[in-house]
């Protein structure tokens, strides 16, 4: 391993590769900040450029873009409540309220440090655990994935907001229903399209996330303009606040970061799971672990609530490299794009990559450390400038949010129908937000819908239509048991509090 590290350092520390990481991080941050343009788009745009370099340099550039875009996505989540990347949806839960309280600078600093710590820690885990973790990820079968998704959805519904479990479950079902629109992945049979060709490919994730977060947020601000409570919030939004993190906040982060980085990394290793589930699970776990006083702050600008998903999503980014590099199975959509680029270079990822191209494997791991340091150096001093976006008056900011959202959809499909659909979903979402129907469960369900159906299909076909697969394997049973415990614990706590009241 020492030999591998030295090979990696030798490759990653060349001037060209350091410049590539820097350029990648900067470019990624800018692209990630624009709602609608996430890491996948950023990396896809990089592919033609990387073909001019050797595979290690090309992959280092793409890895830099990846981290940068995830951090950039967090910035738009915190400042605009417009997460263009699914992995940063959970960041907006506490990051945006913190920005509304005039602590935007602090929220961005917490996000930057948490991302740095999460990414660095997971790069260390990757270094030591990559070979054994590839074996663990191989042992996951369809029933386990299905159970894991049920756990993720139940956790987000249970922890989304106090006393809203049923509303959150309704939103979960609605998200899954929206995901079922379009062609069935196996048989190509169209479902719920009502003979409309525009719906054949289904509804795009970016469209749903833009409509339910960015657009409905903008409409809600206008709708509640005369509301005295929200008016106060809007005034404080123009204050940046200090980027300094005090001792109490640091103490909270010291506890949150290690556990969130572990969960983020482990979830990232599982093929298909990725940063989104990792950030939601880390958020849910953190909310469950902290004391009652801190728990009350979740969703209202909690330091733990912001640090946990930020750490986990960056840790998952590193984790998702494990199945890609060791098994040739992408851990996320973004690594799937990178896998395509690797194949374009003529490099076949898999267990033999260690032996055939050690410089690629180790230089990527080494460049992760360098990338994290560069991201921090690049982003912390820029926070006051990035956060200037908050000083833009609402009369300008709202149309600009709408403009970014519509442009994000337009450049993806060049189709009017998608714009109408987005406006329609945004209007419904605005109305539902008025009555406290939470949007995050809908988003997570929408992201997981296709995967969930796929894994249920495989499980049911393998078990010949029997539901015994749910308890046949110990791992599946354990995950489902955890789900049941979360639900029972949540109901028990609600009932206990009511009785107390």
């Amino acid at each position: 391993m020492i030999e591998g590290i030295l090979i990696g350092l030798k490759t990653a520390l060349t001037l060209q590769n350091i410049l590539m990481v820097m350029a990648g991080c900067f470019f990624g941050t800018i692209i990630g900040m624009l709602p609608g343009l996430g890491p996948m788009t950023a990396i896809a745009l990089m592919i033609p450029i990387t073909y001019g370099f050797d595979p290690a340099t090309g992959l280092i550039l793409m890895a830099g873009v990846y981290y940068g875009a995830v951090f950039g996505g967090s910035t738009s989540s915190i400042l605009l409540n417009a997460p263009g990347v699914p992995g940063t949806v959970a960041t907006s839960f506490d990051g945006y309220p913190m920005a509304q309280q005039g602590k935007a600078g602090k929220a961005l600093a917490i996000a930057a440090w948490s991302s740095f710590a999460g990414g660095t820690l997971s790069a260390i885990y990757l270094l030591f655990m990559a070979p054994s973790l590839s074996k663990v990820s191989l042992s996951f079968r369809s029933p386990d994935y299905f159970a894991l998704m049920i756990l993720g959805l139940t956790a987000i519904a249970a922890f989304s907001s106090k006393g809203q479990f049923l509303k959150a479950m309704m939103m979960v079902v609605l998200g899954l229903m929206l995901a079922s629109v379009g062609q069935d992945s196996l048989s190509d049979i169209t479902r719920f399209t009502f003979n409309n060709m525009n719906l054949t490919d289904g509804i795009s994730f970016v469209l749903v996330v833009m409509a339910t977060f960015a657009m409905s947020e903008a409409l809600t601000i206008i709708l509640k303009r005369n509301d005295p409570t929200s008016a106060a919030k809007q005034v404080s939004l123009t204050e940046l606040g200090s980027i300094k993190i005090n001792k109490e906040e640091r103490t909270k982060m010291y506890k949150t970061i290690p556990r969130s980085s572990v969960i983020g990394f482990l979830i990232g290793v599982l093929p298909g799971a990725g940063a989104t589930i990792a950030s939601f699970l880390a958020y849910g776990m953190e909310r469950n672990i902290v004391n009652d006083e801190e728990k009350e702050k979740f969703g209202k600008g909690s330091v733990n609530g912001l640090s946990a998903p930020e750490t986990a999503n960056n840790a998952a980014c590193s984790g998702s490299f494990v199945p890609m590099l060791t098994l040739g199975i992408p851990g996320s959509g973004t690594t799937a794009v990178m896998l395509g680029a690797l194949l374009g270079f003529g490099v076949q990822p898999g267990p033999r990559l260690y032996m055939t191209n050690p410089e690629i494997f180790w230089s990527i791991i080494m460049s992760m450390y360098i990338g994290m340091v560069i991201l921090l150096i690049l982003n912390l001093p820029l926070i006051p400038y990035i956060a200037r976006i908050l000083a833009v008056p609402k009369n300008y900011l709202i149309p600009l949010i709408l403009f970014f959202s519509i442009t994000g959809i337009y450049v993806m499909s060049f189709n009017n129908f998608d714009i109408y659909l987005m406006i329609g979903i945004a209007v419904v979402a605005t109305f539902m937000r008025l009555y406290d129907f939470p949007m995050p469960p809908l988003i997570l369900a929408f992201v997981l819908g296709g995967l969930m159906e796929e894994n249920l299909r495989r499980s049911l076909l393998l078990s010949n239509g029997s539901w015994e697969f749910l308890w046949d394997r110990t791992l599946t049973a354990c995950i489902l048991l955890t789900t049941i415990l979360i639900v029972v614990w949540h109901i028990y706590k609600t009932m206990f509090k009511k009785t107390k009241g």
């Binding site: 079902v173 229903m177 079922s180 049979i189 149309p399 450049v411």
Partner: protein, 156 residues
Amino acid sequence: MNINTTKVISLLFFTFSAFYLYTAYQIQVFAFDENAPFNARTFPIYLGYAGLFFSGLKIILPDPNTIKVQHKTLEYKKTAILVVIAIIYGATILKVGYFLTTSLFLLSSYYFLGERRWVLMFLLSFPFVAAFMYLLHGVLDIYLRDPFLQSIGVMG
């Protein structure tokens, strides 16, 4: 009589789930797939029942956290105008082109939200869109259809 709006929304969701379930049963599957343990309609059918179950529970069970919305303080008019402007923007963007429609969308949105600083409004519409368009079209190589700019010879 006070009607709990959350219950009304749940009732609407119940109806929607029933319609979804009905449509799920209507999905045409291949003859050989009809009796398979899993086909294109299996998952949607489960979802339909799940929707009925959760919304049904919400309707039946008492609601301790009733949400009261102060409709009098809400700005329905401005919100509706903004939605209409966005729809017009969506309807014209392909025919007229990105530059002009986006600039006019921004300009009219600023105006209807109460802004009257014309110089700033102009700077944050036409030149801003031009710069953004250059970033997308010129730098990132994302093609943006623009019949208006093509007609005046600015775009090839």
